[in-house]
Symmetry: D2
Subunit: 310 residues, 4 copies
């Protein structure tokens, strides 16, 4: 099985775009392995690290990629089935970053209040789970790994790996996990897939801006749906059809997600569009994936048990 590893530091991907040379090529139907650094480039090894030195924007959240997918052409959809995500370190990192997060002033929600102080936890990962902070007498947190960042190149833009969007990217959606298939748009020849930001566990909304950050080695299978485009990322498993919206304000993220879900049900599953809208209002589930990134991300989910029987 092919194993794609992060490029050397100088060639790490800090943007998701069409301007970097592919670091590997895969074929439709191929199962391969890919390794990722954590969101801080594996640079935090101690609770005393100086975040100002570690986080030098825009050089945060390095992704592994671009991965060229043979035969992928604009207008296709790339499917990425996540077979497995192995965590390749015995600790995770959690931080409070002074001007980043859901409950503090940021570069967008600018305030004159003093910034928060930095705070770092180096979290041991044991067989029982993640030890959040040994000073707190609480049970270990179960390991539920997923990719915070997965995306394909836009046509001409190069988007920060910190941002989610119509191309996928830094969605921080825990549904990008083993057993699930992610559908991403193909905007350029070869699709150019980027992956990173492994999380060993994350709360909905990722409220402080950081999850349990880890490097990973994942096993993925890519495939193509030819000549059928998705307008925004979709995710599927045996239980749910899921549409992902990323925008600000958060209600626009929800609108994008639900609009796509309703449209999907109408186009592929025989629902009248207004009927699907009304049904979603009674059975849909929603995940707030992140309330901290450059755009917020909402996942709208339709339980497949309510698909029309044929």
């Amino acid at each position: 099985m092919q194993h794609i590893t992060p490029p050397p530091t100088k060639k790490l991907a800090w943007v998701i775009g069409p301007y970097q040379e592919p670091i590997a090529t895969v074929n439709p139907g191929e199962t391969f392995q890919v390794s990722t650094l954590d969101a801080f480039g594996n640079k935090i090894e101690s609770a005393k690290a100086d975040l100002k030195k570690v986080i030098t924007l825009p050089y945060v959240n390095p992704c592994t990629g671009p991965i060229y997918v043979e035969n992928a052409e604009p207008g296709d959809t790339l499917s990425v089935r996540i077979e497995n995500i192995a965590i390749t370190r015995d600790y995770a990192v959690s931080c409070i970053i002074p001007e980043f997060g859901g409950l503090c002033g940021t570069v967008f929600t600018r305030v004159l209040n003093e910034p928060l102080d930095q705070r770092i936890l180096i979290q041991r990962i044991t067989k029982q789970g993640i030890i959040h902070d040994p000073r707190l007498k609480i049970p270990p947190i179960p390991v539920e790994p997923f990719y915070g960042t997965i995306g394909t190149s836009p046509a001409v833009e190069a988007i920060s790996t910190l941002s989610p969007g119509f191309h996928g990217g830094n969605m921080d959606a825990a549904d990008v996990c083993p057993g699930n298939t992610v559908y991403l748009p193909v905007n350029v020849k070869g699709a150019l897939l980027f992956i990173g930001d492994g999380h060993a566990a994350q709360g909905d909304a990722e409220v402080c801006g950081v999850a349990a950050e880890v490097p990973t080695t994942g096993t993925l299978t890519v495939d193509l749906i030819k000549r059928k485009a998705v307008g925004t990322p979709r995710i599927e498993n045996s239980e749910f059809l899921m549409s992902v919206g990323s925008a600000r304000p958060m209600e626009d993220a929800a609108r994008i997600a639900f609009y796509d879900l309703v449209t999907w049900l109408a186009a592929d599953y025989g629902f009248d569009r207004m009927a699907a809208y009304q049904l979603c209002s009674q059975v849909a589930r929603v995940r707030v994936a992140n309330m901290v990134d450059i755009l917020y991300t909402i996942v709208a989910k339709f339980p497949k048990r309510y698909l029309i029987k044929r």
Copy 2:
């Protein structure tokens, strides 16, 4: 057991405020029954009803109340344990209302596009669940009743029963359900509790603006936490501590909810505030309760299994 019924039409509560005479009085610790009309005042009986005639703002979502709670004084917290919610009609109502909902222009998100057409479903409720639309071959939707609206009077404001807020109100949070306890602020003598908007089932976000609307008879137990105030509604069950934020844009609703959750963990459960923030970022769950009302509502949930052992 006392049974409080909706007042005659002329005295129905269209606002949650201190200006109406109580329709009943209960004692702390008392278990009582309360009946509610559906959000349309039980006025929709056919899929051919004319919504323009049924929905004449501000006379929508009539609540049963105010219910006076003996001994409640400003600065206390009112707890309302929901023992049971019985649905008192054999059908639910679902609609698309032309300028209301998550995926259309509204009186706030004003657009020049043509409004949507109205659409009404009269939904039979059977032992197997809610028949969403007999024309669609999908399984019945399980009945999971809750109150869309529950709140206490502000000090001087009278807030539309269509709006949620720091006083509770029209949160449309499915966590206001049997088995759970809701904590609401006491701002006036007697607290003045209002209840309404029963839902037989609802999707997260209530995307089209309407759930499965039903009249109900519920069984509630109220109690007081003296001289301890909540700043925003809280909900609790055996599994979760939950804080409810209502605001626009939606990220502010999430901020209010998480800020309160973090503050609660610090004040009552021995967490350092920043530690609680970081822990929530790894274990919290979030419900988008509504993306359609005058304010949006988010419920931030902390799993009690992570409370510090003492």
Copy 3:
């Protein structure tokens, strides 16, 4: 000329609603005087005042009213021509309020950062203008008085005097000034007009949350436009037609304002609605009235010189 003065403290209006007894009655066409306290109830007399004691929510921004307008009935529009606003004190007050304002965490945009410190300026008003702070060598600020708050009662709601909305209220729009006419909806018999929050000068957006706060005596002429309703406040002078939108997020305030302006041009001035939309995109002016209140306020302005000649 009738002179309406603020009621005694116990009867001051902290909400704009239908539940208070009128303190005066005026006739359509009548010119009268009205006096207002400043937003702090005239309670700040020194830079060393303790804002925690002065600002005890919801008892802030007392308005003079309700003023009953004879013959006003729901569905009419109340016009209020502002003839003059005299400032009745030789100083204005400016403050930074710890959790209120445009560049700090607030009760809605909740953050874990430490709140700002309070800061008060007692600002002398001279013939040359307002002395912002004698310690700063800058010219006096010209006195340009207006009412921060003017509104009519909703049908059943009682809205905090701190909030703007479809009823007018705390818009903090400098266009509510001498020479201009404000149009407000009539939702209840007698209209019930409330006025307060005099500002001697204010920057667009009122960024710190407080302007140059003053008590006033104004001269107003009210009139009625029978059986013609406005959906949101409008303002007019010789130069502009102005529509006022109040909402969060701010873009919704702008949408409400522009939607109303376009609708107004179509209904009363012979424009095709789409033509008006396109023309506004080339000639409209916009004022950000406030970015600090419970809702934000935007004024969209159409220069009357572009009205169709007939």
Copy 4:
């Protein structure tokens, strides 16, 4: 004088980023001419054009650039003084684009309502001004040309020319006009300046999404402020210091703009930061530049007459 013209179609800039070869080089202090196509690449020549064919995202709003500025290094500020903007066509274009604009559903504010119909005006530019629509009897609109788009390359991102941001870009701020100087960040060697989207006139907020779109030839003088960085674009003329914020929701754009203005007054003009905040609340002016682009843009303005005398 050097005259920089748009590159051939295949090399037009659709993103502002570091990945394109410079089309010209200028020296600090140099005055030069630059020509720009209109936002539609000069492709609309008739009111009957098919916008679906003209606007094929992301190939909209072509800019002239990148222009390499000798000696510019990351950490510097690029100043661009706009000496003149000549309109190089005898007509302007105005349109309603079906899913773009301030008062309609868009790709972000997704709705299920039917999209608006397209509408195009070809607007003659005469000595008296712009003839908005000869079918409307209104006076000509004065020509007040400015650049909708001006920006410098980010370090690694390539941002759509449709988006404004910390790099400048598609701000649609009428203050980018002759007589004013724009300050932009230098993030890469040579700064890489891009210019486009000439407007012959525009209303505040550009509510329908399109102004009076024209090709131009401008005269600019660039210069460098070495080793002094701006965090967001600034503009200056004899009357105002101006800071530009671009974000969603709109209040965040206003926060960025005012935060920068307050910070600027403190860093360069001797104000205490809190004093500057309070003063802005009494004297600032605000322009809503756009409420339609990928990010909204707000310009916060401080009248220089209130600068401290020294």
